[in-house]
Structure formats: C-alpha cells, structure tokens
C-alpha cells in the first residue's frame, strides 16, 4: 500500500476528470520550483479573499479608511494649537509621522480578528481538506494586512497634506518613511496573529489587542515629544518600537524630530531601532504563530 513517486493513480479508469485535469497532478512529486509556484498561488488566492473581507466588513474597512482621517484631523486641530515642540517646528509636521505609525499599529489588529473569525467559522476546516499549502493561510493573512496597511498609510498622508503637512524631503523621503512604517506593521501583524490564534473568539481577540495596542501607541513619541514625560514613562517611550518608527518617519520625511535633541542610543538611531524591532518581532513571532496554527488545525 505504500506509494512511491510512480504511484498508480487511484482514480478509476475512465473515471472523473480530476485525473486528466491539467491543473492537478497525481503522478510524481512536483518539483521544488513547481511547489514554490503553487505556494505563491495559494498565498495570492487567500490574500485576495482576505482583501474582499476587508472590503465587506465595515469595521475593518473603517480601520483602514475612516479612522486615519478622523485621528489625523483630531490630533492636528485638537493638540496642534497648544503644543510647543522642543527645538521648534509645526505640530502638524511633527504629528504625521506619529499618526502613520499609530494608525498602522492599530490596523494590524485586523490580523488577530480575521484569523480568529476564520478559526471560529468552518472555513478553516474546508482549507484543511484541500491540497493547498497550509502555511499559505498565515502568509495570505499577513500579506492582505500589509496591503491594507499601505492603503491606510496613503490615506493618512493624503489627509496630512490636506491639513497642511509639508514633508521637506520630497516624494522619495515620504516613500522611504512609509516603507519603514509598513514594514513594522507587517512585523507587528505576526504578533497579532499569535493573539488571534490564542483567543477564544474574534471579540476577545479585539479586546485583548486593544489593551496591548493603546499603551504601545500612546506611551511613545507618536503624539507628544518624550521630553515632557515623567522619567519612567519617558524611558519606556524612548525604547518603544512605535517611537523608533515615528522618529524614523520624521527623519525620512524631513519633519521636526525633537527626540533627536536627547542624547540616548534610542534617540540617535531611530531607523536602526525601527528595523531591528521589525526583524526581531518577525523572527520571534512568525515561528510561534506557525506552530500555534499547526497545533490548532491538526489537534
């Protein structure tokens, strides 16, 4: 009964088309290139499916579109008038780097909610019985969230331009800054995948995510310069990955970055820190998420 690479096709002679379908391959192990191509296609199919979800779930859609507009306008008009930056400069110019970071971080929660909903409904059961690559489930999820992040970042930038934000380093600077932020959001979505895989249901995934994301986004230099904070909070804020990402955006956009005036390692190397955080989060969280997923779907 053991099957070798030249296994006889189990399908009855003259049987259904699955055997003769050029899209399926029963005989022989597919080569490495073929397998990679199939994996990529699975990821693309699932990414497309997840993006359709974003479009149809009002909550997720608003996370990527309405929320960025709302937060940008709120912070710029509410805090902008009363905030004096150490070293001078306009609050609006300062705020956009932080708003990009904060919006992308909160939008990454979509990964936990989406994964958790998939596990709750039967659709994952269907995937489990298909000849697809199971690792494509997580890859498709985080890739869809990456694209949603890019949309979200674009909307923050457009809103920023509308309310008077002026990046001094031109288009290249803006693109570079957004790239750092989107990379971080991608890394963070792997952390969110762990939340989604360990939560009982989408609601608790959302709830737990909020508890983690809000301090992460707010105890940082995203909205206020760290200079004015009490010591404990200041140290946390200085090393917070979102501070590093926000400061990198400001540097790359050519906007005021008051953190540069403080003399700490974190303040002097925001770009290094932002990239290091992103790589470290993926390195730690991706294997854990994959293991959790395998455990949850093979029991």
């Amino acid at each position: 009964m053991t099957v070798t690479t030249t296994a006889p096709d189990p399908v009855r002679p003259g049987g259904p088309a699955a055997a003769t379908d050029p899209g399926t391959d029963h005989a022989g192990e597919p080569g490495r290139v073929r397998r990679a191509a199939e994996w990529l296609r699975d990821v693309v199919v699932l990414t497309r499916r997840n993006l359709l979800h974003v479009r149809r779930e009002p909550m997720q859609m608003s996370d990527a579109t309405v929320q960025p507009v709302l937060f940008t306008a709120l912070f710029v008009y509410l805090l902008g008038g009363s905030m004096a930056l150490p070293g001078g400069g306009s609050y609006t110019d300062f705020a956009i780097g932080g708003l990009v970071t904060m919006n992308l971080t909160t939008a990454a929660l979509g990964t936990s909610v989406g994964l958790s909903s998939d596990l709750e409904t039967g659709v994952i059961d269907r995937f489990r019985t298909l000849p697809m690559a199971r690792s494509a489930i997580l890859a498709g999820r985080t890739l869809a969230d990456l694209l949603a992040s890019a949309l979200c970042a674009t909307i923050v930038v457009l809103t920023g331009l509308a309310v008077g934000w002026r990046p001094d380093n031109g288009v290249a600077g803006v693109v570079a800054g957004l790239a750092v932020a989107v990379l971080f959001a991608y890394a963070f979505s792997w952390f969110c995948a762990i939340l989604g895989l360990t939560s009982r249901d989408p609601e608790s995934a959302q709830g737990l995510g909020m508890v983690i994301v809000f301090p992460l986004a707010f105890v940082s230099s995203c909205f206020v310069p760290t200079q004015g904070l009490p010591t404990v909070l200041r140290v946390i804020a200085e090393w917070n990955p979102t501070s590093a990402v926000a400061a990198s955006c400001r540097e790359l956009f050519g906007n005021p970055n008051p953190a540069a005036l403080t003399d700490t390692f974190a303040a002097r190397h925001p770009l290094f820190l932002a990239l290091a955080w992103s790589v470290a989060i993926v390195a730690v969280c991706a294997p854990i998420a994959s293991r959790l997923q395998r455990r949850r779907i093979t029991e």
């Binding site: 009964m1 399908v11 009855r12 050029p22 399926t24 199939e38 659709v123 019985t129 093979t298």
Partner: protein, 341 residues
C-alpha cells in the same frame, strides 16, 4: 469485489480523558456507499476527521484512495471531497467566489475554476444566487453550496458528515437524490448520519457506532434480520414485574425492557389476534397497558436491540460503564433484561 477506496483499521482518538473513537475499522469498496450510523457524540465526526486528514489518529491505520492518511495526507487531499456537519463556507464571499477560491486552492487554473463553479451552481439550483453573499443564503442553500464545494475537483471519494442534519424534508430529499446520482457515477461515499432511515435509504452497508466503537455491521437487511421479523412494542402505564413473563410466551426472541420498565419490545411472529393475545396476557398478570404496536423492524429497533437504549439517548452508565462488547446484541447493556421463551 473491487479494491476498497476507504479502509480504516483500529483507528483510535482521545481528547484528554475522553476517548472519542476506540478501535474503529471500516471498509468502503470502490463505488459503494457505506453509512456510519450513530447518535450524537458517538464518534462519527472524529472518524471522518481522521480519514480526511483533519485530525491525526492516536493509533490505527487508514488508507483513502490507496494513500496513507498519516504518511501521505497531501495525496489523500487530492482525491477526497468533504462536506462537514457545519457548512464550511466563507459567508463573506459570494457563492461563486467560494467555489472559484476552492477550485484555485485545489490547483485548477482560474479559468477552469470559474467554469466549474458556474457548472456546479447550475446543477445545485444556485445559479441565481451565485453573486449573492453566502451569509444571505438559507440553511438548505448553504448545504447545497457546501456539497458543491466538495465536488469542485470531481473527487472519486466523498465524505459526507451528517449532510442532511437540520434540513427540511424537501431539501433532504434533494440531497438524497444528488448523493444517489454521485454514487451512480462511480463515486465512493462514506456517509455519517443520525437518521436511521437515511442510512437505510442510501447505504449499501451500515456500520453502527456507539460511544466510539463499531457495535454492528452489515446491510440494512442483515441488521434487521438480527432482531427477527415483526416487532411488538408495548407501553405500560407503570413498570410491572410480571410484564416480561407475561409477554415471553408470545415472543420469538428476548423481551427487552427500557424506559424504566415502561416500554417492552420483543420479536414476534405475525398472526391473527396477536395484539389481543398480548393484552390478555398482560391483563391476566395485572399489568395496565397504554399502547400496543406491531410493526416491521426499523433501524431504530436495531439500535435499541444493540445498545439497550433508543438511538440518540445518552448512555446511562457514564464514563465508568463497562465498554459495550460487540458480541451478541445488547449483551452488555446495563438496563437490559433478557428472557428467552
């Protein structure tokens, strides 16, 4: 007999302290439909999950389409279609999008996946609903789409896990017709069901499963033969010690007692005046009778004869109860009383 398309030997699965499946063996020959019949929680779904590579067995071996379910799950997945108990569909996609996605994930080209989706929607009477989100579908429509989804690649082996549970009679009939068509086309089917008449109507042979074990196997005819011809069922006003002894002379087999002594069942030979004779005998013993019924045995009777419990009833013994042996019918059921005439 053709080669078996589904073969299971001694499958075993436990979740913590709970043994979901204990030593289950099954054989489904190519082109046949085998029914796995049992009440809720008997281990039917867990058996299907192991054979469809969703869950790894703790012990035992299984082959589907000739491929080992543990060593070659990827190959198994290429020859099976699965329709689960809960429709496993993406409710935020349309019917068409669901089928196209499944086709593409099953390695069909996008063009072929689209063509196949259109074909299946047509066949399952869903063509008009193809562009609607699945969350707007009725229960019957979801089940049909779910079955369509499992047929995208025209798999030679089909697992149907309680495909009609919760469906109205019309939808159930439609589902049966489709299943019969598939088998007529040569598909091999493993069907689980709680409905005795469903297994009777569709299956070539039936495995009765209870508390994770196969307790009987055979065709519907063989299973019915195990409890004889006609079946006499008497419902008493109250349990009475003399009832079994009063009925025993009329019976051709053991009299079985259930429902706290209020329900008695016995195989009998049909003859004129049988019901009158039964009532007279019971009356003479001082037993009050609420109802007397004589009928051809159904699979319900088979289940009752095998387990001492009506189908669907939870075991009374709890986890400490001795495992039901698969020997003579009902030999180990705790509340069963046998009296030979």
């Amino acid at each position: 007999m053709p080669d078996p398309m589904i073969e299971a030997h001694g499958l075993h699965k436990r979740y913590g302290d709970h043994v979901a499946v204990r030593d289950v063996s099954l054989v489904v020959p190519a082109g046949h439909i085998v029914g796995v019949l049992g009440p809720n929680g008997a281990g039917k779904s867990t058996t299907v999950r192991m054979l469809t590579t969703m869950t790894r067995p703790d012990a035992g071996r299984g082959h589907v389409g000739g491929y080992d379910i543990v060593a070659e799950p990827a190959r198994v997945r290429r020859v099976i279609g699965v329709t689960g108990q809960d429709a496993s569909l993406d409710v935020l996609l349309t019917g068409t999008q669901n089928l196209v996605m499944i086709g593409e994930l099953s390695r069909l080209s996008r063009r072929r996946a689209r063509a196949r989706a259109a074909e299946l929607l047509e066949r399952f009477d869903l063509a008009d609903a193809g562009d609607r989100l699945v969350k707007t579908y009725s229960g019957g429509m979801r089940r049909r789409l779910d079955l369509a989804a499992s047929l995208v690649t025209r798999p030679p082996v089909l697992f149907l896990d309680e495909p009609t549970t919760g469906l109205d009679p019309t939808s159930r009939q439609q589902m049966w017709d489709v299943i019969r068509e598939l088998v007529a086309d040569g598909t091999t089917v493993l069907l689980t069901t709680q409905y005795l008449e469903e297994a009777d109507a569709l299956a070539d042979s039936i495995s009765v499963i209870d508390r994770g074990e196969v307790i009987a196997e055979g065709t519907a005819r063989e299973l019915k033969a195990r409890i004889g011809g006609e079946q006499l069922t008497v419902t008493l006003t109250a349990a009475h010690q003399g009832a079994v002894f009063a009925l025993a002379p009329l019976a051709t087999g053991p009299v079985q007692v259930a429902d706290g002594g209020r329900r008695l069942t016995a195989p009998v030979e049909a003859r004129n005046g049988l019901a009158t004779a039964a009532i007279r005998a019971l009356d003479a013993a001082g037993v009050d009778v609420d109802d007397v019924e004589i009928h051809r045995p159904t699979l319900d009777d088979v289940f009752f004869a095998l387990t001492g419990r009506p189908a669907g009833a939870r075991g009374t013994g709890g986890p400490a109860a001795p495992p039901a042996s698969s020997g003579s019918p009902g030999s180990s059921a705790p509340e069963l009383l046998e009296v030979r005439p």
